[in-house]
């Protein structure tokens, strides 16, 4: 697969435009802001359909609680703020008043991962998958490009229940064609076929996984790429099939190695098909502010780190096969 590197679109732009359209088409849909609309692109709704925009101010606990109340009267609130805040500042509110009663609230973690525009560790979102995945009834999704953002949002709108969607700030290469790409919860997307090793990725890291597979191919290693936009529910079948076919797995994400995609994949492999596996994500470190490339390199989730992970896991596979 070749990335359309010349066609970079920011997920947040796709999100803002799609949600604006939803608010126009669907009387239930409301945008709920925690005063970050100009960053998250929720301002598109504020400007394009102000009657459907609710400002809760900088008070995340109340914002999520209000969303639960709105859902009980048949509205569908889309609450959006930075991933770090929506998950960590209002976790108990989400657990008690949204996840447990399975209310129809959509939670959008904008600015997930490391690349949050030089804002540093307080504004980066490296634990959101781990936290949200552990809540009962929660669906956890991480699209890989602007096209998939729209597809995932269409699913969330039509699904009745709590959904967390992980987005990112900066423009990303386009992976999918709007006309042909589909999203199904609990289903992975096989992007590249490969016999030697499978790179399993999610969200923003999938573009980098594709670049890594292309580099590996040039070095004579046939690396497959399996993209999992749906982290919960997860595609057990595709993960097991990949492990059976290639016998080696790299799980990579723009997230902590604790509790995220890597952990989810490891859980599946341990229970169904143990093979040599490694995780490429942010280790047990506090991050910092800095330019994107420097952050990816220092926190070891750059394309080269995925390549290194693939080579390491391949060596282990070969050692086991001797």
């Amino acid at each position: 697969m070749q990335l359309q590197l010349d066609k970079k679109v920011a997920m947040r732009d796709a999100f803002g435009e799609t949600l604006l359209q939803f608010t126009k088409d669907d009387p239930r849909v409301y945008a709920v802001d925690g005063d970050l609309a100009t960053s998250t692109r929720l301002d598109k709704v504020a400007e394009g359909n102000p009657a459907k925009f609710l400002q809760m101010g900088i008070a995340e606990q109340n914002m999520l609680g209000v969303a639960s109340g709105l859902a009980t009267v048949g509205l569908q609130p889309w609450v959006c703020t930075f991933a770090a805040f929506i998950v960590k500042r209002s976790l108990d509110q989400i657990a008690v008043t949204i996840a447990q009663p399975k209310l129809d609230v959509k939670m959008i973690g904008a600015y997930s991962g490391l690349l949050t525009g030089c804002t540093g560790k307080t504004h980066q979102g490296l634990e959101d998958i781990a936290i949200m995945r552990s809540l009962a009834n929660m669906v956890v999704l991480a699209p890989a490009d602007a096209v998939e953002v729209k597809k995932v949002m269409e699913f969330a709108r039509d699904y009745h229940g709590p959904v967390y969607i992980r987005l990112a700030r900066d423009p990303l290469p386009t992976l999918f064609a709007e006309e042909t790409h589909t999203f199904t919860p609990g289903k992975g997307v096989k992007l590249i076929e490969g016999q030697d090793v499978t790179i399993i990725s999610t969200g923003t890291q999938t573009g980098r996984a594709v670049q890594a597979a292309n580099l590996l191919r040039a070095a004579g290693i046939q690396a497959g790429v399996l993209h999992l936009p749906s982290i919960k529910p997860i595609d057990v079948e595709a993960i097991v099939e990949a492990a059976e076919r290639t016998g080696a797995v790299v799980a990579t994400e723009e997230h902590s190695i604790y509790g995220g995609l890597g952990s989810a994949v490891a859980e599946v492999l341990v229970e169904h098909k143990p093979v040599p596996m490694t995780r490429v994500g942010v280790r047990d470190l506090n991050s910092e502010s800095g330019p994107n490339d420097a952050l990816l390199k220092k926190y070891q989730i750059a394309v080269e780190d995925i390549v290194r992970g693939a080579k390491e896991v391949l060596q282990r596979k070969e050692k086991e096969n001797v």
Partner: protein
Amino acid sequence: MKTVSAQKKINWLQKKSSETRRLILQTVHHAGAGHIGGPLSVTDLLIALYFDVMNIKPDEPLWAERDRFVLSKGHSAIALYTVLALRGYFPVEELKTFDDIDSRLQAHPDMKLLPGLDMSTGSLGQGISAAVGMALGAKLKQQTFSTYCIIGDGESQEGQVWEAADVAAKYELDNLVVIMDYNKLQQFGWKGTEGREREIPIFSPEDRWAAFGWNVLAIDGHDVEQIIEACQQAKRVHGKPTVVIAHTVKGKGVSFMENNYTWHAKVPNAEELKAALEELDMGV
């Protein structure tokens, strides 16, 4: 001058309150677990709401136009369950399952399990935000129902309560009535002990809510007539939400439980239950 029928209604509601208190004590004794002090302080508020103030259909608990109720101080669940049972939402007999495994009557309210519960609560400070969402939703959908929410005074130490107060005032939610069960006691004492008065939180709820732009009423929270009148007054106010500061007594109705923080969540033994029920019998 009160009419004979109005006085009759008040007497009847008082009897319901007494019946509720008896059932609370018996249920907690039977379950061997649960809260006592808060449920006894909140009883008259719930009786007034469910038997007079609120527009509800117990045989149609999801009726779209019903008034909403959120018990933000979820640990008083047994009082709410008892009132719901007496109001006909489910059989009174079912109170015996309180706190048991597979019961619909969870220690803290679970809206997925029991008809008549409009929100799951338990972790303090959260229910009021959900109530704000319901009231806001009614405005957005142009529905005419009112939303009632009971909060605790201890609960109001949670910052979220004041986040909610802010937003409710901003959206001019005159269809929202928050009632504070102001019993002036919490799990580990509020009044302080001799020489430790400095530990008392500085708290003047009337001033605080007024500063947040709310319509503030203060009443005796055990006088059903005053409770009903306050809710009627709230309906006449436009452009701002109403808070009713209901001065109550924790453990109300049983002398040895009143104003005694150790009865926050203590189970009465057989002897204590007997003494408590005798006092309630004498009271009415």
